[in-house]
Amino acid sequence: MTATTVQPGQIAEGGAIRRMRGWMANPWGQTRFLWVFAWLFAIWSIVPVALAIMFSFNAGRSRSTWQGFSTRWYWSDPRSVVNDESLLAALGQSLRLAAITMLIATPIGVALAIGLARWRGRGAKPAAFLMTLPLVTPEIVMGVSLFLVFGYLYDFIPFGTPAQALGHITFTISFVVIIVRGRLFAIGRDYEEAAMDLGASQWGAIRRVLLPMLSPAIFASLAIAFALSIDDFVISMFLTSDASSMTVPVKLYSAIRNAPPPSLNALASIMLAVTVLAVSVATIVMKRGKKRTGEGGSAMETLVQMEI
């Protein structure tokens, strides 16, 4: 990437430490170190997962020794994803929960973020504090607490999908709030006030001015909510009822410890494909929206603008 040619001796003498020091002294100039670093990071980041996907196509039962290419763990084997009902059910459950979580946690979280950002006076501070608590709560704590509360107190809510969905939404709301809140602070209040000066009502200003300006954060929230839900396993596990409510992560966790056949890799790979598809759709939608509003930059960037 760099135009400068590197002297062979320079590398031998310099080493990573000098490069690091050089970068610290002049982070704007020399980016060669950064580039090496970046590609190493990329390899570290991607290769293990790429291998895991590759082994979903292994012809043998091993997940570390390549025994030839095959799609048996997807279609043909009796324990393949298509033939093993428990794997298919897990996939369905994961997607169902992620969709429910995304669709419920996002509006609640966006409203809460706006409310908290603008609300002054008594109650505002405790409310903000309450919102941040789920963020500090390790998942295991929430899993236990929800298990106990659904088991002993809210026993009209059955374990399985209802309890799992409620649990996922609970830990997702606060993430939505912090994503949206960052964007709210960045926007400030001037636009809304301008709208109201021009005669818009409070609700009108929120609907016509604030929400459109928040749309990148809202899309990011949807994506993050989906990701958090689909990635969760502690809460899902505590709140499962029976086979029908086992999610992919729960299935993965119990199986990694039980020497799974590569159909598990296949299951995870399929879930990955579904997720990527969902993200791509979101990206395209946002890109269109941006063209209309004439903003620059790639939609992918906006997607990760989790402004906190």
Binding site: R61, T65, L153, Y154, D155, F159, D242, A243
Partner: protein
């Protein structure tokens, strides 16, 4: 979650707050764990008849099957799923399998009472408290003619005389598995105390134990010379826990559930505490046939020079859960699985041997069930008569607390001070 439901939740919470203890009282009744019930623990010397109570009656004779779906609650990889397709057709109902990681987790869910599984596969150690807590239903033997197929000793086992609540599922012995390319067989087979190999620092780093209190704590006590699990003192328990703690630093021991049937053939472990059934499974998990050939198994009572160090063997059970919606279907399923051909088909996947009288252990190698180098993993009814064979102890009450406490410390690698008595 619609707004209506939200409002409903609010209303319920408004009610719930001032009357939490009232609500709890209601919950407590529902859990079925009444305070008066007695946990009846049988021992081989004093077999126990599990109590029958009016509040937990058996089902009547000759009822028609329910519609299902029949819900099974089982360990992972512990039933042949392909076989279940045929079971669905023959029993005329759908079957769902849910797995649990260990029994504590299973009991927690069952006691909470929010699940409606029909058939559960507990260890025999769990049976007495499951009866006392009314988790499981008494069995109506008119639905279970195939119980006659199992070994006579299992038609009326010591933990449940008359098989009033349980029928046997599959057998296990807890022994030692190792790879000959990593461990010298002589270091196990020729020892007076084969269990000592787990403390042999030559094998540091390749040693694994089951993440299971009912196996691993007795293992450590057997190594120390304990001969009977029915009467274990606190000192023996502490010594066992300390012996396990020692392994953390000495051997870099790791705890797993899959370390034997998968970890050994894959090479992740060279030496592991092992259920016999895990050995029959090795061939399915070995990356190459050569890996499978590396694996050996020994149940210490069968070691040539061992005259005093004990080891455990037992059978897991099948039960019908009280909270299930398909008790008749569940009975029929139990009977179906006690059928010789069906239980053999299950064996072909699960690899744990059923106590079927018609199954001749001597033919298992010839018929290709078990490779000849793992012949030692075959269980015979006569093994129960081995003077070094130990049957597991059902735990409850204070005794269970003491075991759990010792186990918790052992897993942390902490040593119990002998004088820390209260």
């Amino acid at each position: 979650m619609t707004r209506r439901e939200f409002v409903r939740s609010m209303a319920v919470a408004g009610l719930a707050f001032p009357s939490l203890s009232a609500l709890l009282a209601a919950c407590g009744d529902g859990s079925g764990a009444g305070g008066d019930a007695q946990v009846v623990i049988g021992t081989p010397a004093n077999p126990a008849t599990q109590p029958m109570v009016d509040s937990n009656p058996m089902i009547a004779d000759g009822l028609p099957s329910e519609e299902g779906p029949l819900k099974l609650y089982n360990w992972d990889e512990y039933i042949n799923l392909d076989m279940l397709d045929r079971a669905k057709q023959e029993l005329g109902a759908d079957i769902e399998v849910t797995t649990f990681y260990n029994e504590a987790q299973a009991i927690q869910k069952l006691v909470a009472g929010e699940v409606d599984f029909d058939v559960w596969f507990p260890t025999q150690q769990t049976v007495p408290k499951s009866v006392a807590g009314q988790l499981i239903r008494p069995l109506n033997h008119s639905y279970l003619p195939n119980l006659a197929n199992v070994w006579p000793s299992f038609q009326s086992p010591f933990y449940d005389v008359g098989s009033q609540y349980t029928v046997p599922y599959v057998l296990y012995q807890t022994g030692i598995a190792w790879r000959v390319d990593q461990v010298d067989s002589a270091d196990i087979e020729e020892l007076e105390n084969p269990w000592e190999v787990f403390w042999n620092t030559k094998y540091k780093g390749i040693v694994g134990l089951y993440d299971d209190i009912t196996e691993t704590l007795p293992f450590a006590m057997f190594r120390d010379g304990v001969t009977d699990l029915q009467d274990v003192s606190q000192a023996e328990l502490d010594a066992g826990a300390n012996a396990l703690s020692e392994l953390v630093g000495l051997m870099n021991v790791r705890y797993s559930i899959d370390g034997s049937y998968a970890g050994i053939p894959e090479g992740r472990f060279g030496l592991h505490l092992s259920w016999a059934g895990d050995m029959v499974n090795v061939k399915y998990y070995a990356p190459t046939p050569e890996d499978a050939e590396q694996v050996r198994y020994l149940w210490p009572p069968k070691a040539a020079n061992n005259t005093q160090y004990h080891a455990m063997m037992a059978s897991d059970t099948m039960t019908v859960l009280k909270g299930g919606k398909n008790p008749v279907l569940a009975h029929k399923f139990l009977n179906w699985l006690l059928d010789y051909d069906n239980s053999l088909e299950n064996f072909s996947f699960v690899a744990y041997q059923p106590p079927q009288a018609a199954l001749d252990p001597e033919t298992l190698v010839a018929d290709g069930w078990v490779p000849e180098w793992l012949e030692s993993a075959i269980i015979r009814e006569s093994d129960f008569d081995d003077p070094l064979a130990v049957l597991p102890r059902a735990l409850a009450g204070e005794e269970e607390l003491a075991w759990n406490d010792a186990w918790q410390r052992a897993q942390s690698g902490a040593t119990i001070e002998p004088e820390s008595e209260e």
